[in-house]
Amino acid sequence: MARVLVLGGGISGHTAATFLKKWLGRSHEVVVVTPNSKWNWIPSNVWVGVGGMSREDVVFELAPVYKKAGIDYRQAKAISINPEGSATSALPFVSVEYTGTANAGSKEDITYDYLINATGPRLNFAATEGLGPDCGNTVSICTADHAVEAYEKLAQVIEEMKKGEKKKFLIGTGHGMCTCQGAAFEFTFNVEHKLKEAGVRDNAQITYISNEYELGDFGVGGMHLKMGGYITSGKVFAESLYTERGVRWITRAHVKKVSKGKIDYETLNGDMKEEEFDYAMLIPPFAGAGMKAYDKNGEDITSKIFNPGGFMFVDADYSKGAAPFEDYRAEDWPKYCQNQTYKNMFAVGIAFAPPHLISKPMKSPNGTPINPTPPRTGMPSAMMGKAVAYNIKDMIQKGATEPTHSARMSEMGAACVASAGKGFFSGSAAAMTMYPIVPDYQKYPDYGRDLNGTFGEIGLAGHWIKHFLHYSFLWKAKLKPFWTIIPE
């Protein structure tokens, strides 16, 4: 009997674990280690942040779902990996610390035959002084609890605006090395929509601040699409929406410090500027989970397994890390998400170390990097989880020695529906697809992407799709009937 250990029960880990258990049945064990008792459909946190949904609408208890599926669920967080075992264990293992109320703080070593690291992002608010809801001056929508608090504060500001007060809203990225601009984009327009609904839009100045070189970069170097008889940059598409909705924008910005009601930021041309706010939601930069790794003798091998940001090395071409943008290639991106030293170890979703940026690296004259880091959104994260699940299944059941399924971000597309306001008849969203996610200028020399697979449009239909996705992905994650036919 083989044991597959999945670290992280988020979008990619949950996908991998549930498919693996379905395919492997009772003959093999699937263990999931994840610190929260509840699963969160993170994309809908945007709506929680504007009061359009409650916390309960976007989370559910994991234990009953895993019990039904026959998955061994441990509410714990992984602390370290011993991929060679140790002096006392011949098998590789992960040291975990339990986080549930019953056994909080107790530790255990869990052995494995195959390991999937799907620990996602650590929200690195500490990278910017004064950032974040816990000890900072901004709100966040990155977790369901953060989003609840973001709405409480928004509702309070709206009440003050109803009395005639003018307010400044600042939404965007809280550091020069952030990813996840899409979430900030969505929150911007959902807040704008909410203010309009509350009848206080005229009292608001809304500013979007971002580390993107231009609007519409989204950490994927922007995109081109066919529109109105032209092949147009996504920048035009994005700026049009900001203009239409009266949102001012600041790009090429690294937020250095957040004080009460004010940020200090540096621009790509080295200027130091300030911006005031009454309400700010700034996305933090993401780091890896921060696990350690040890070899059989107990030597620290963390730097061999994880990059300095805490993301796990896989089968990417890391020699290109410092290469110029023009030398980036599609093949630099990992095909199988498999660690090359320990081939029974995989990393999927945000947890794997990208070979380099997708957007062009940029620095201010002061040496401050101001560029989006690569996004690994829900769809590719889940697809990586499923591909790795397939590979492990084939290794266990068919004795495959090499992975059989790939999930390379330069060979797969992404569908993205960015909400711009909630409401069955009044809502809207930008529905976008791009193929591939990482531009491939060798295959598509003009624009890096297949223009037949890359498109975008705004409208009510996008909102319906976003709403439909909310219910269908929760249905799938709860393993309700026919869950396997719902695509990633």
């Binding site: 700026e239 203009t243 697809m383 797969m412 449009e457």
Partner: protein
């Protein structure tokens, strides 16, 4: 929308009244709902290796 000459937003395209109408016109959006779903499904099929 009132244009402020030489401001940030003076150089961007804005949707015409007809475009805005289409974005919220339920019968047209039903058509778009189907079309976008087909496009996304094709993309998903193309992405599995």
């Amino acid at each position: 929308m009132k244009l402020t000459p030489y401001s940030q937003n003076a150089y961007t395209p804005v949707p015409s009244g007809f475009t805005k109408f289409r974005r919220n016109c339920v019968p047209w959006q039903i058509v778009r709902f189907i079309a976008i779903n087909i496009k996304m499904t094709m993309l998903i099929l193309k992405s599995h290796h």
